[in-house]
Symmetry: D2
Subunit: 342 residues, 4 copies
Amino acid sequence: VSDFKPTTTMRAAVLHGIRDLVIEERRSPSAGPGEVLVKVSSVGICGSDVHYFEHGRIGDHVVESPMVLGHEAAGLIVAVGKGVTTERIGSRVALEPGIGCRQCSYCHQGRYNLCPDMRFFATPPIDGALCEYVVVPADHAYAVPDGMSDDAAALVEPLSVAIWADRTARLGAGSSVLIAGAGAIGLLVTQVAAALGATEIIVSDVDASRLELARSFGATAVLDATKPAEGLAVDAFIDCSGAPAAVRAGLPAVRPGGTVVLVGMGGDELTLPLSLLQRREINVTGTFRYANTWPTGIALASHGLVDLDGLVTGHVDLDHTRDAIVPDPSAGQVKMVVRPGE
Amino acid sequence: VSDFKPTTTMRAAVLHGIRDLVIEERRSPSAGPGEVLVKVSSVGICGSDVHYFEHGRIGDHVVESPMVLGHEAAGLIVAVGKGVTTERIGSRVALEPGIGCRQCSYCHQGRYNLCPDMRFFATPPIDGALCEYVVVPADHAYAVPDGMSDDAAALVEPLSVAIWADRTARLGAGSSVLIAGAGAIGLLVTQVAAALGATEIIVSDVDASRLELARSFGATAVLDATKPAEGLAVDAFIDCSGAPAAVRAGLPAVRPGGTVVLVGMGGDELTLPLSLLQRREINVTGTFRYANTWPTGIALASHGLVDLDGLVTGHVDLDHTRDAIVPDPSAGQVKMVVRPGE
Amino acid sequence: VSDFKPTTTMRAAVLHGIRDLVIEERRSPSAGPGEVLVKVSSVGICGSDVHYFEHGRIGDHVVESPMVLGHEAAGLIVAVGKGVTTERIGSRVALEPGIGCRQCSYCHQGRYNLCPDMRFFATPPIDGALCEYVVVPADHAYAVPDGMSDDAAALVEPLSVAIWADRTARLGAGSSVLIAGAGAIGLLVTQVAAALGATEIIVSDVDASRLELARSFGATAVLDATKPAEGLAVDAFIDCSGAPAAVRAGLPAVRPGGTVVLVGMGGDELTLPLSLLQRREINVTGTFRYANTWPTGIALASHGLVDLDGLVTGHVDLDHTRDAIVPDPSAGQVKMVVRPGE
Amino acid sequence: VSDFKPTTTMRAAVLHGIRDLVIEERRSPSAGPGEVLVKVSSVGICGSDVHYFEHGRIGDHVVESPMVLGHEAAGLIVAVGKGVTTERIGSRVALEPGIGCRQCSYCHQGRYNLCPDMRFFATPPIDGALCEYVVVPADHAYAVPDGMSDDAAALVEPLSVAIWADRTARLGAGSSVLIAGAGAIGLLVTQVAAALGATEIIVSDVDASRLELARSFGATAVLDATKPAEGLAVDAFIDCSGAPAAVRAGLPAVRPGGTVVLVGMGGDELTLPLSLLQRREINVTGTFRYANTWPTGIALASHGLVDLDGLVTGHVDLDHTRDAIVPDPSAGQVKMVVRPGE
């Protein structure tokens, strides 16, 4: 249904095994019914890409056959499948990488992130977006306005993690929040908290330079995570570190009736002070990805309420994907972006 | 402001130390401004009364000077203080035993159970209701209808614990719930779940006779708590046992997006499976007493939607309070009631 | 993917124009990918079927070409399309008649009843279920347990309207509610309110025999709708009458902070007392169909918490559909059911 | 309990009848138990003050005996009553002017604005704050930080109206909102919407200069209220105009599932399009004052997320109160402030 002739093959960054990443030729996909074909422009590298690269698995998700990495992606719609208006061709889009079954009770109820049959970019055995072309259902490609960069469009994915965390924490005008971990997610949680009107935003980390970054992104105070936090009574504590010690340190900082949101993936077990949880009626919940966040994320980014481009600390082309995945120990990297089209 | 002349002294069940309960004469209280004087008719014995009797403390709450026990109480208003209409005299009432400061942000927001200055019957150093007369603020004495017994009026207090737990668990029509522990609280949680329209109500306990009781109070299935529960995917798990093993067994039974409510007081620490919490976005919260439950409790009990009298397994007069507190090992006691007026 | 050979044609009750209902032969449908073919057993007649029959339209929805009526349907899965397990064949099912696009923000968020591209049985130009066979997406056919009748399975549709109304009204344990109109929907709203633990359920109608019915289905009090209701202060007022006079009469009965839910379709305009709405912060909302109600409805009906069979006041076979649509003026009809298989 | 000796009399702006405002000597109040005595520094003039001045009444509230006007007030604690720590003396405070009974179900539940026994500054027969000294319960005097002006502290009251409106409208990150009326309340609703992360904030008014102000306070678009608004589909419509025409114009601009909040007081009746309300499941509610907003308001203002000083268009001393109440027709007044201490 369009004139676009993609190349029959494309290049892709494929993980074959632990630390075995190959840039190889693959057959280009084509858009089926209800789908759009997207020429990928920017792909952010996430900690989970690094984790698959280093360990070949995340928990029960094991890379058993070669898999394309990457799930933070943006691009340009170059062709559409049956049932999709050709008016969408030429649209710059941010991609939502997880596709629910649309049939189970979770999908019916709008919590599709809990769908047991979710297919998610770069979660085995589903290929990701570190390649030249991808197809997604048309409703998973969200148009972004002109003023928003390709990188920013790609980073609506980690922004979504942050929006979901802040929603789960029920942050609002005048809220106080403690955020553990000033990596990409922690910095985005910080920015979203500020955008939502939180007025006390305290960020803890072990790295002083990251704490400086946190300040520049809206933290009203910063803490050295190696020292005990005392005298706090925040509405919410959001852990983005995955460090059990950080969780243990943060929990007593939550006021009665407050909320703990566990975003960072860490050890398998979490030991909580039961009587404190009860006496203070603290609400503890984990988050898993997100649901219904792209429109919010695009609105926040395009109106300047969060700064996504400011998180990008480097670009590589597809051939140098490995350089984006293996962190340079000398550099204060936050978010590396691969540009498959360059 | 009324003709009632209470005796200047009254008898009270006073805890002087561990296992040192004395029935002694005390000065009768009188109603100050905004208060009512209540002649106590029924007082339920709670696990916390037993715990103070056996250990002299619950966590940080230590009995340092003699304290009247009892906080599940009902009675008859016999006098009123300044500012309270004399029309209230003669009213049979259920007593809400915790009095917030009415000034802090928690009281302002209707979560007065989290008030840091809460004064609560039989929590040191506040005297309880195991005596002939007590005074409470007029708004803490809720009128009960004729058809509701004194015992039932007293048991609106533990019913409130159950209402609060079921509210926190967000139970509703068609909900499924696993309830660990079929003691008084577990049986009330069961009854309230049924009253709210829950259709799958599974109760676990180690005691087969308690499980029979649970069935009679609305459980649709029962489980032997010593065996692993398998194949469950409930909307909510409410622990009323305080047994760490029960909490560990119950958590995997919760469906994605479900809720865990920790009512039973147990060990100091709780170890949870972090990745399960996250992957399923399970919400874990402790409850502490209750707020705004008396009107609901009286409505449920007086309309026959919960059966409070059916929980009462024995009565004693004030002189035999000790018999109600020290459980008879041969008997399947659920709820003992002391009748101070007899 | 199954051995079932349906007849190539079937009979259907087709509305050709105002009061022009024809029982005619039509081509039998077959199950496409993701769909199931259902042999229809019971179809309830709804006020909207009657309205299309009498007026050829409901608001902007105009019957412009012949349309099969009926949207309250149950049946037996006799064949499945590609991608649906054959294990579903032989399952008795309740059908959810509205099929959202699964792609818009409303579908994504679980409020698919607001989907602008909803396709709904017997809403022009979509055919309904008053025929021998229908196809629906597999996830719109909900299995019902053995103990639940075909009629009850069909009536999960109007029950869903009631569940949605009671959810919107936020009814719960101990709630008080005024329900205007004791037709099929009002009687279901009454039953669901009781199932949810509401303890004050007041029903008003102009017809004394309907009020008697309301009592038998759980109303705790009834009111003659032609007389002013005084002295009420209910948590919620649910209008199921569509009568502007009933709405005007009911609104002052709502306590501060209470809720008004407008279910009944009536005049185009609604005049409300603005200062009362503000001073009492009353929340007024209309409901439109329902979302995510079938599992709840089946749970309530199959556990005996609502009685659907008791609403059925008569059966006809497909040839006598007209008799079910044109009400017998002498009879106290509540819900007529057509049995296409008989 | 403090050394402060207030003068035995003070001056106050007292309304004796329609347009009959007298600056007269009154006895100074003193702090009773639990109260603080506040030397008033700034009092904002509200539309309700003007309305009492012009009409001697608002609805059922009639000025039957001389009454001090003014309810937007800030000041300095100069003395405390029994039970209040003397450490509070010297604290600059924003005053919450409505005092609930603390005993009814609304106060218990944290919706004290619905308390039937609310005593509110300058609502007959309660005197207001346009005078030199007032007493309030200690918990109604909220400390403000040094960087916040007296005027801003006083204007936390109208800011509270706006916070409550935006909370009721459930605004959040990425929300779209239409606000009718760019007076003081509309401009505050605009600012709070921006602080909460709303990204589409459309303000309508008949006055172009007010629309310019709205832009400067965060409106992303403005509309001439005399022309039909077309093509909008906002999450929420907040009427701050009280103009029936504005409400009629705004309602169709609300998307399905959206919210209408009626803040502005207007005619007695409100006519709504019933079928639109139903088909779109629009939620309509009125707001009445606010509850639990002072901490939020002070946090927003002191962190610079809303600008209260920027709304002040003039100051007068107590003797010139009338000049602040009778609007100067030539000037674009938004908020006049009386400074009783000058």
